[in-house]
Structures are given as C-alpha cells and as structure tokens.
C-alpha cells in the first residue's frame, strides 16, 4: 500500500502547487488585466464580440446577467435536442446510427446542458460522431463556462465597492472559453493522443484475433472530447465505460493527467477568489476546508478498497496484496490503475462534479461506496464542479457566518458586508434546493413501481442505485451505480428496437435542470444583493473568516447539513452493506 500512498501524495502535491499560478491567471483575466495569452487571443476575442454583437464593457445587474444566461442555455437546450433527434441525416456517422428514443434524448440533453453528463445512453453504441462532437462536446465547453461565469459574478458581487453591476455574461463566457478552456483542451487533447487515446473519424475496425475470432474495435474523435470532459468537470464518456476504457485512458500517466485536468480549475478558483476580494487568506481558508474533506474521502476509499468485499471473501478469494499482485477489491477495476489510482479517481470525480469513472462504482466495497455518497451528499462543495463548487461553497460560507454570528450574538458580516434577512433566505434556498430534489425524486422512484423497472441490484444495493441516481443528477455529477438504467437496448449496437424508461428519463432530466438553474438564480440574486452593500471596516468584534476556527466551523456546517439531510437514507444503502457480510 505504501507505493499507492506515494502516488496519492504526489498527485495532491502537484494540485496544491498549481493553485497559485492558475489562480492568478484567472484572477487577472476576470479583472481585465493582460495575461500571457492576450497577444494571441486578444484579436480573436474582439472578433467574437463583433460576431455576437455585444458590448463587453457594458455591465449587467444580476437580473440582466441571469436573463442572458437562461436564454442562452435554453436555446442551446433546443439545439442539442434537435441534434440528437436528427442523427439519421448527420455527417460523420460511419455506423449509420438512427436517433434514440425521445425520452432518452430529453434526459441526455438536460444532462449535458447542466454540466451533469449523466449517461443512460451508451456513447459508442447509440451516438454518431457528429452528435458527440457538435452536440455533447460543445456542451462540455459551454456548460463549464457557464458555471465559472456564475462564480465570477458572485465574487464580483461580494467584492464590489459600489453599484449594481456584477459583470457582463457574454464577456465572461467568451473569455472563459478563449483563455482557459479551449487552449488547455488543445494541449491536453494532443498530449492524450501522444499517449494512446484515439482521435479519428473512421468506421469501427474489425480485426481477426490470434485465435481466429473476430473483435470489433470502436473508433472516433475521442481525445478532443476527453480533454474537455475532464477539464470542464463534465464526465460524459465517449465510450459507455468512460475512462476505464483504454482508448480513453490508456495508462497510469494519462490517468494522472486526466485527474489533474479535473481538479485544477476548481482548486485554483479558491485562489482567484482570494485575489479578487483582496485577501488571499480568505481564499486559502476556503481551500483548506475543501482540502480537509477531500483528503478524508481519499483515505477512506483507498483503505476500504484494499480490503476486498464480502462476496469475494465468501467465494474463497484471498484479497491480500503480495509481490506482483495488488490484492484488494479489483472487481470492476483495471490492472493498470490498481487500487490506489482507482480509489483516488473515485474521490476526485465525486468531490468535483466530474462524474467520469475509471472503475465501476457499483462494484466498490460498501464503505468505498459511502465515499461518493458522502461527497455528493455534501452538495458538491468540496472543490465541486468548475465554478459551481465554489459558488455552492460560498453559500455555505455565508451560512457559517450567519450561524457564527448567532452564536456570538452579533449581526453577521462577511468581508465587511452585513448579511441581512434577504441574503440568508436566498442562501438557505440555494443550499436546500439540491437535497430537496434528490430526496423527493428518490422517494418517488422508491415508493412507486415506476422506479423499480430501472433497477439492477436488489435490496440495499437496489436502494443505493436509486438514491445515487438522483443524488448524482441533482448535484450535476453524472457518475452512477451503473446498474440503474433509463434505456433498454436489446439489439446493440444502433438504436433499432431500443426504448427509454420514460419515468426515469423525464424525472432525471427535470431534476438536473431544476437543481442546476434554481441554485444559479439564487446565487446571482445573492451576488446582486451584496453588490450594492456598503463595506464597513472590520472592528474588534468582527468574526474573522480567514482563520482555522472559521475553517473548522465551515467544515462543521457542511457536514451538519449533509448528514442531517442524507444520513438516514445512506444508512439504508452503503452503510448496511459495509456492516454486514450477508449477501443479497
């Protein structure tokens, strides 16, 4: 296990080292300062504003910002839905796939517009290369940019000294794409190809194996999608088994690189935050809270997975490690990643809302499964999705300030701004809307017969599948206990004879849209509300929000809200399974 801990430690060290340089870069970008890419990208940026007919320096208040964002996202929803419904006439469709069922398209469209990338469909068996490139991968960029734009707007609201403007949505969108997401994706995609990730437009290749059988190898433009899928914490795989498939993730090095792409922006945004509000310590305080929760999850997952499962032990398998064998629970894991890199991946992709998988979550040990459950139960605030993680965490920060204020009996203040009744109402709504969607949807699916058609597992595992499905969709994560399905495909590949399970598809789609855009509206409203507030100088009695005590309080509030909301439900699934050796 020692070597595994070293791998994990090295990864964490590299992430921490990147926080400052990347954070500074983004802060300069969002405060209209030159960055090293300006000479190259600047002219393209100006053409983009002309093409979109926008005046980038025109500030918007929170309502204007929100309106642009919603109209833009809605139109893109329609466009993606149309793309998925017209596969029969697509170019770049060598397998000749027809469109899938409409209810599945509804789910998939909602999934990608909301940065969720929940996958009821199997990419390589149902989607044309055109749908993957011009449909899904575009949303990987755009939905990520929307998430980052919202947090930047919130930061401006918190930092503003006067006025009501919180930035210009179009300017933020264009800049995030041109200066951050596109350049890193280009470099990342080419690096991935150099390591073996495929990138072509060919028909699937049929080969004759050494023993004379035939095997069909899926092909496609994978690397270009893989890079942004990780960088934008999207997670929707080109292939159904996602980053476990060697054409998406061929080696330990690509695994490390993809993990870095996932975590770098969410982690660095905390530094950007500190810089933009004028106190680096504020950024590090939030980083520390996220970091503590993240490391806790990694440690639990790795130890749990190294132990093996009751099913394996009862079958007579010895799961100890010895020379030349990783030992542990290798069911649903790849040899080249082993236990450590699979556990690390599981933690990283569930603290961020990435949801890509390199191992089958459903085959994790009971305790191992509890880690993704907990990470999602804490509402994706541990680094979280690009932008979304930090804006959700900032809601918790304000909540912690409020609770702290109540404890010491003073009017709560954050960075010199008084937190009033209006802000606290908005924050409470923003914090509670996601868990509410999760619990209502899982309750509906469990209590009616409509949800049982989607199940693969039985008893506690079946309940885990259901709860995780709606937890993941509500938190816009997209990872799954993949037994749960909303799509039946009897004659794979192709969509012939395939049909969707409407209940799961429509409920899931609605949950994703609601739990993405309602919190965004609450966040922007908080931003608008704070923007106009006067800053009062810090006095002796002001509660500090940049010291270990506050970090401790913040972690406590996150755990408290998550545990109160989800503990009873999580007891029924993963915890039962980790406490018993009974089989079901």
């Amino acid at each position: 296990m020692f070597q595994g801990w070293v791998q994990i430690a090295v990864f964490i060290a590299v992430v921490v080292a990147l926080v400052k340089p990347v954070g500074i870069y983004m802060a300069r970008l969002f405060t209209n300062q030159r960055v090293f890419l300006s000479p190259v990208v600047g002219p393209i940026e100006r053409i983009a504003y002309k093409a979109l007919r926008v005046r980038p320096d025109e500030g918007q208040d929170w309502k204007g910002y929100a309106r642009s964002l919603i109209v833009f996202s809605f139109l893109f929803w329609v466009a993606l839905y149309l793309i998925l419904r017209t596969q029969g006439i697509h170019p770049f469709n060598p397998e000749g796939f027809k469109s899938g069922p409409w209810d599945l398209s509804f789910n998939t469209t909602s999934s990608f517009i909301t940065n969720t990338n929940w996958q009821y469909y199997g990419g390589e068996t149902t989607l044309s290369y055109f749908s993957q490139m011009a449909g899904l991968a575009v949303q990987n960029f755009v939905s990520a940019a929307v998430g980052i734009a919202v947090v930047v707007a919130l930061i401006r609201g918190i930092a503003a000294r006067s006025g009501r403007a919180i930035g210009n949505f179009w300017q933020d969108l264009v800049r995030i794409l041109l200066y951050i997401l596109v350049p890193i994706s280009i470099v990342g995609a080419l690096f991935l190809v150099s390591q073996g990730v495929i990138q072509n437009l060919s028909h699937a290749t049929v080969v004759h194996t050494l023993t004379g059988a035939s095997q069909t190898l899926g092909q496609g433009p994978v690397a270009s999608q893989e890079a942004i899928k990780e960088l934008g914490t999207n997670g929707g795989g080109f292939f159904n088994v996602n980053s476990a498939f060697p054409f998406e993730n061929p080696s330990g090095l690509t695994n490390f690189f993809e993990l870095l792409l996932i975590l770098v922006i969410p982690a660095a945004l905390t530094y950007t935050y500190g810089r933009m509000v004028g106190s680096q310590r504020q950024g590090w305080a939030i980083f520390s809270a996220m970091f503590a929760l993240f490391v806790g999850g990694v440690v639990v997952a790795y130890i749990a997975e190294q132990h093996g499962t009751p099913a394996q032990h009862l079958a007579g398998l010895h799961t100890h490690a010895f020379d030349g064998s990783t030992g542990g629970n290798l069911t649903g894991k790849e040899q080249r990643f082993g236990i450590a890199e699979s556990s690390l991946w599981t933690a990283v992709t569930t603290v961020t809302s990435c949801g890509a998988v390199n191992a089958a979550l459903e085959s994790l040990t009971g305790l191992g499964q509890a880690v993704p459950f907990a990470n999602l139960g804490f509402s994706e605030v541990i680094f979280g999705g690009v932008g979304a993680g930090l804006y959700s965490m900032l809601l918790y920060v304000i909540l912690a300030v409020f609770i702290g204020g109540l404890m010491v009996g003073r009017t709560p203040e954050y960075l010199g701004k008084k937190i009033g009744a209006r802000e606290i109402k908005l924050v409470a709504l923003g914090v509670l809307v996601t868990p509410l969607f999760t619990l209502l949807a899982s309750g509906l699916a469990s209590a009616t017969r409509l949800g049982t058609r989607s199940l693969y597992g039985v008893n506690p595992q079946g309940f885990s599948e259901t709860l995780y499905a709606y937890l993941s969709q509500a938190n816009n994560n997209g990872s799954a206990l993949a037994g749960y399905t909303g799509f039946i495909q009897p004659d794979a590949p192709g969509n012939a004879g395939a049909y969707g399970i409407s209940f799961a598809d429509l409920l899931g789609g609605a949950v994703m849209v609601g739990a993405r855009f309602l919190p965004i509206l609450f966040v922007l409203a908080v931003a608008g509300s704070l923007a106009g507030k006067k800053v009062s100088p810090a006095g002796l009695g002001t509660m500090r929000t940049d010291n270990p005590t506050f970090v401790f309080l913040l972690v406590g509030v996150v755990i408290l809200v998550g545990a109160l909301t989800f503990f009873p439900a999580i007891l029924l699934g993963p915890i039962v399974q980790s406490l018993t050796t009974r089989l079901f």
Partner: protein, 219 residues
C-alpha cells in the same frame, strides 16, 4: 430580452461550428499527422495482418464443440457459445462483455451480491483447474485477485505479474520452453508504472502471446 435572444442564437451557431467542428477536426488532422499509429488505435500486426490493439485485451479461447461438431451453447444464456481457454496462450482477466471492443458496459456486481460470490467462486475453480496440473504448488491463497475478478472495461489488456508467473508453468509445458525462457518473455512484455510512479505494473497479454508465437509457434 430580444437582444439576448439574438445574441444567444448567434452564440449557439458560432460555438457549435468552432467548438463542435473546427476544434475536433483540427485535433484529428494534427493527430493523424503527428501520431498516426496511436490516433488510430495502436494496432498490432502479425505478418502484415492486423490482429488487435496493444491497448485492448482479447480472448484466447475456442468454442467447445458438441458431438455434432458444432459449437455448444450455454443453457442459461441464449446464443452464448461455451468457450474453453486455449492452453497454449496466456489468459486475460475475466470480462463481463466477452472482450467486446465496441459495446462496453460494467459487470455491476455489488459488494454483497450472491451473484458476485458465485462468479468469483467459479472463476477461482476454473483458474485452479487450468493451472494446477502445471504448477503443483498452486493453492487458492496464491491466486492473484486480477485472475478471477472482472475488469472495469471488459477489455483490460493487462494481467498482474504474479498472474503471469503462475501461467508461465503451463505455457512452458505446452510450448516446450524452459520456465526461464517464458519468464524472460514476460518481463519483455511488462509495462511498468508510468514514469516509475503512476498506476500498477501489468503484463500486456496480447503482446506477450504474439512474442510467444514468434519464439515457439504452436503446431
């Protein structure tokens, strides 16, 4: 509102064209020039014939023939041929998908699933039955976990070094090679940790079997 609609419409079109076509097609073009082998799937050829990909595992087995000389089928699962491992080749990890390279899915066996116990139990029994005649000292506690558990992708190209060393006894006997010759071939086909640090070492089964065929062809 009207202004937002117009800008959004323009943005949808511009972004779809640039991010959805120009970006992936440019990456495809550059990749095909700079890394044509890797971009097209790291294919492996024997005597000019493509036999697979070094990144995608494949089965080394044959259909079991019934008395009528036709392949036998599994009673439980329709149209599923019963396959027996080819004793002359190193065997890959168990797969939920029959080593499909274009229809992928997880096995999804839960940690406390009775089905998973049965599957591991059967895999363990057949592994010991296959290898024990050649490796007398083999006992259940020496069976490496990768040998009897399904991989995630269904096409895991690697097995663990310990697994390969167990199978080496069988290969040496069937191919009439010395154990040390086989072990040399194993180390030549072993992919270490990336940069000596990331991931786990694994023996690439297809590359190893191709090397075996070159060194000591089966009749």
């Amino acid at each position: 509102m009207r202004k937002d609609l117009i800008t959004s419409l323009l943005a949808v079109i511009v972004l779809t064209v640039f991010l959805g076509l120009v970006y992936p097609l440019a990456i495809t073009g550059i990749s095909q020039v700079l890394f044509p082998g890797k971009a097209n799937g790291s294919k492996l050829s024997v005597n000019g014939r493509v036999v697979g990909s070094s990144l995608i595992g494949q089965p080394f087995s044959h259909p079991v023939l019934g008395k009528n000389g036709k392949p036998k089928f599994d009673d439980d699962e329709e149209e599923e041929e019963i396959l027996a491992p080819d004793k002359g080749y190193f065997q890959p990890r168990p797969s939920a998908t029959g080593y499909s390279g274009n229809v992928t899915y997880f096995g999804n066996a839960g940690p406390n699933s009775a089905e998973a116990r049965e599957e591991v139990r059967e895999n363990l029994a057949s592994y010991v039955a296959l290898e024990k005649p050649y490796d007398k000292g083999l006992s259940k506690d020496r069976v490496p976990v990768d040998a009897v558990t399904q991989s995630a992708s269904g096409v895991d190209p690697h097995i663990s070094e310990a697994n390969a060393l167990v199978q080496a006894h069988r290969i040496a006997a069937v191919r009439r090679l010395s154990l040390s010759q086989v072990e040399d071939l194993i180390s030549a086909s072993t992919d270490g940790r990336s940069l000596g640090l990331f991931g786990e070492p694994g023996v690439n089964v297809l590359e190893l079997n191709i090397a075996l065929d070159k060194e000591a062809p089966l009749k």
